[in-house]
């Protein structure tokens, strides 16, 4: 099993907690308390290795609080992250600016070249159907262009309907696996292998432990 640390960043109320809960528990609450400080959750997924083997990936997820006042806490959570989900709300124009600011901060502060940044536009359900198109405040093409320029992964999702959420984590998991597999391959050879990769990622897990993740 591989362990990766993932952090969610983005303006308050864009739906970070909702996305995590959709991914981890497959539920959605219309009313969810604002996050104070940060919340921890974890979930495993499976990705495929080149030789068609299943690799279990465990995400340790820190869902941070979006309000400006809590910004100073964020470094504690993204410091050792392998991946960052930067979320904005497609119906709130300013939330994309906040997302861009987070991307900047990550690029400046996180030394890891391999840090995977995924830009996510949430709440697409609100602008589905021709009646609701005017609710959209951020054009998908615009965000996509920005993501490409910055070398980010990008997609639009809905935590409410679940649309696209699993795929985001799946793609992150696959990307992380692909980038790490070189390193992993070396280690793997040392392991008596029963078809499952069971090693720790070189990067520290959530809490910087090097312990086994079983």
């Amino acid at each position: 099993m591989l362990q990766f640390k993932l952090v969610l960043l983005g303006d308050s109320s864009v739906g970070k907690s909702s996305i995590v809960h959709r991914f981890v528990k497959d539920t959605f609450d219309e009313l969810r308390e604002s996050t104070i400080g940060a919340a921890f959750l974890s979930q495993t997924i499976k990705v495929e290795s080149e030789d068609q083997q299943e690799v279990v990936i465990k995400f340790e997820i820190w869902d941070t609080a979006g309000q400006e006042r809590y910004k100073s806490l964020a470094p504690m959570y993204y410091r050792n992250a392998n991946a960052a989900l930067v979320v904005y709300d497609v119906t709130q124009e300013d939330s994309l600016n906040k997302a861009k600011a987070w991307v900047e901060e990550l690029k400046n502060k996180v030394g890891d070249e391999d840090l995977v940044i995924f830009l996510v536009g949430n709440k697409v359900d609100l602008c589905e159907g021709s009646d609701n198109e005017d609710k959209r405040a951020v054009a998908a093409t615009l965000a996509k262009q920005y993501a490409e320029d910055q070398g980010l992964m990008f997609d639009e999702v809905s935590a409410k309907t679940g649309h696209g959420v699993k795929e985001v984590f799946q793609a992150i998991g696959q990307r992380l696996y692909d980038t790490k597999k070189e390193e992993l391959a070396t280690r793997q050879r040392g392991n008596g292998n029963d078809g499952q990769v069971d090693i720790n990622v070189p990067r520290p897990s959530t809490n910087d432990t090097t312990g086994c993740c079983s």
């Binding site: 109320s13 009313l31 921890f40 006042r69 959530t206 809490n207 432990t209």
Partner: protein
């Protein structure tokens, strides 16, 4: 559940489903049932005790006097008591097993395992080495259930009678019992009567205090409120405790009129587009937070309520630019709002407040009054914790640090375990500080908790006032000193206590504790002798924050046994979602009492805080 109830009682617990504990505690002397013991302890610790229980020879608590190192042993004892009391429902092999287990660990582990007080700076010093350190070992038996009946005169947590039978080391069931001749039903009935009487006595007491024609005795009100405020009195008492209403009752009417007008004017001005440019981001943030404030309580989904709270929060935010609106303040406003709302409901419907739309029973005028009172009380509260919300939230960081240091002292095992698992206190305790534990408990419990918290607030608002106006980043709490707090005033003649201490200090007979029946109490004393009407200066402005840290410590340590068996992920998950859904007032009362005792024992520690 009656909100005025001042302490947990086993038969209440029974009603709530804790049948084993309730019955065991009542009818058998020492059956070694940890559940019973913990209930026993809850009752014993949090409520004043009835004299007759001691006369009957019940000894719900055993008293272990301090030996060589008072601080260390007291620490061990408390910890030990905590450990046994929170071993949830763990059946044990009967009285002897349960009892001797406690005894053994006390005598052997007491100074060795649990104490490594190497940090000189942080030693827990007991002021008076002759002061007995209360111990809750083997809660034992009946008698504590009636703890309610003593209610009236005491206010701060009462330590139960320091009664012991000295039988522990010989393996007989701890508390010796006078044969019980009454049936459990009879006892239960008696207790109900006592409880009712106690409630009446308490309400009478509050009413008497509040009906004073001139200057209210706020100090006494504070003491009385510490153990819970009767529902009908709560709105007024909260306003007094927080320092909103003046002690002089003659001024109440005019004062309220003035404050309500001030609020009304503030709102008019603020919402007049010509005078005031709306702070859009603040407004927006409040707007998106209100629907998700207390989402499980119907009250907060009514548009009328959200509208009121929005005005209150926005006005507060723009008047306090150093802080501004910070998430969590939306939580803190709600107990005030909800309690003051009950003033506008007939007494019989107070319990319905959480379900009814105020728009259906409030006039416009009343709505403004309610908002004004809520606004001012919120302002008063936040004055005392401004550091929590200014840039960088230094108040919270400081409290989190204090908490970790405290836990390191009180429960080194847990602290070490956290270190090994790389659990950082800020990962779970940030929210505890930011929302005063409100997210951890249901509203009823929070409200009961606030009786105590507001009793802990300072009325010296000048300090807070300065803080409010000061610029962000300054060490605003510097001018304050920790509240004076002492374990003192045991009502037993001191000579007796000393006798006990001497006996106990002898290594050869650590368990031979003689019984004495006087009521004992931990009485909180404050720095000043205090005139009756004005508590200013008696409590320092740091006291609410400081007490809160002790409550958090007690709360964390409550789960110590479980936590020590968990890994990082389990710990964080557990602490993010602690099993408090079923908590009742008696549970929070026990927690508050524990916190109070810790604070008494560790008061010197707090001088290093700030």
């Amino acid at each position: 559940m009656k909100s005025w109830k001042i302490s947990g009682s086993p038969h209440k617990g029974q009603a709530a489903g804790g049948a084993t504990g309730g019955i065991a505690a009542r009818s058998s002397s020492a059956d070694g049932n940890f559940d019973a013991m913990s209930k026993q302890q809850a009752a014993a610790i949090s409520g004043p005790r009835k004299q007759h229980s001691a006369l009957q020879g019940y000894s719900p608590l055993r008293y272990m006097p301090p030996s060589r190192s008072a601080s260390n042993d007291s620490n061990a004892l408390l910890k030990q008591s905590r450990r046994s009391s929170h071993s949830n429902n763990r059946p044990t092999g009967g009285a002897n097993a349960g009892h001797s287990a406690s005894t053994t660990s006390f005598t052997t582990d007491g100074s060795g395992k649990y104490f490594q007080d190497l940090d000189e700076d942080w030693s827990a010093v007991i002021d008076d080495y002759n002061m007995p350190i209360p111990v809750y070992l083997n809660g034992g038996s009946a008698g504590t259930a009636d703890s309610l009946s003593r209610a009236s005169t005491h206010s701060y947590p009462q330590l139960p009678n320091l009664t012991g039978t000295g039988s522990g080391s010989r393996g007989t069931p701890g508390p010796a019992v006078v044969p019980e001749t009454r049936t459990p039903t009879e006892i239960a009935q008696e207790r109900d009567v006592q409880e009712l009487n106690s409630m009446m006595a308490r309400i009478t007491k509050f009413n008497a205090l509040l009906s004073s024609k001139h200057i209210l005795n706020v100090k006494e009100l504070r003491q009385l409120s510490w153990n819970g405020i009767p529902k009908p009195n709560r709105p007024k008492v909260w306003k007094l405790l927080i320092g909103y209403l003046p002690a002089n009752t003659k001024r109440h009417e005019s004062f309220l009129q003035r404050k309500r007008k001030e609020y009304r004017d503030g709102i008019t001005h603020t919402f007049d587009e010509q005078n005031h440019q709306r702070d859009i981001p603040t407004w927006h943030q409040i707007e998106i937070d209100l629907p998700r404030t207390n989402p499980s309580i119907p009250l907060y989904q009514f548009k009328s309520v959200q509208h009121s709270l929005q005005k209150i929060l926005y006005l507060w935010a723009i008047r306090h630019p150093a802080s501004g609106y910070v998430q969590g303040i939306n939580d803190l406003v709600t107990p005030f709002y909800q309690i003051f709302l009950t003033e506008y409901l007939p007494a019989s419907q107070i319990d319905e407040v959480a379900n009814r739309d105020p728009a259906m029973y409030m006039s416009e005028e009343q709505t403004v009054q309610l908002e004004a009172d809520t606004f001012w009380c919120l302002t008063k509260l936040l004055e005392q914790i401004t550091d929590n919300y200014i840039h960088g939230q230094p108040g919270i960081l400081k409290q989190v640090k204090n908490l970790s240091q405290l836990v390191k002292r009180i429960d080194a095992d847990l602290y070490d375990h956290f270190t090994n698992e790389h659990v950082e206190f800020i990962q779970f305790a940030f929210r505890w500080m930011n929302c005063l534990l409100m997210r951890e408990f249901e509203m009823d419990v929070v409200i009961r908790m606030w009786d105590t918290y507001l009793a802990e607030t300072s009325q010296d608002s000048s300090v807070g006032g300065a803080t409010t106006g000061a610029s962000a980043g300054a060490d605003l709490s510097a001018p304050t000193t920790p509240a004076q707090r002492t374990v003192s005033t045991f009502q037993t003649p001191p000579s007796k206590i000393r006798t006990e201490a001497t006996v106990g200090a002898s290594p050869s007979s650590p368990l031979s504790v003689r019984s004495f029946s006087a009521t004992t109490a931990v009485t909180k004393t404050t720095a000043s002798g205090a005139g009756s009407d004005d508590a200013s200066g008696t409590r320092q402005s740091s006291s609410l924050n400081e007490f809160h840290v002790f409550v958090c410590a007690a709360f964390l340590i409550k789960w110590s046994d479980q936590l020590c068996g968990m890994d990082f992920q389990e710990i964080i998950t557990f602490l993010q979602n602690p099993p408090t859904k079923d908590w009742r007032e008696s549970d929070i009362e026990m927690l508050l009492s524990e916190a109070y005792i810790w604070q008494s024992l560790y008061k010197d520690a707090t001088s290093h805080w700030l």
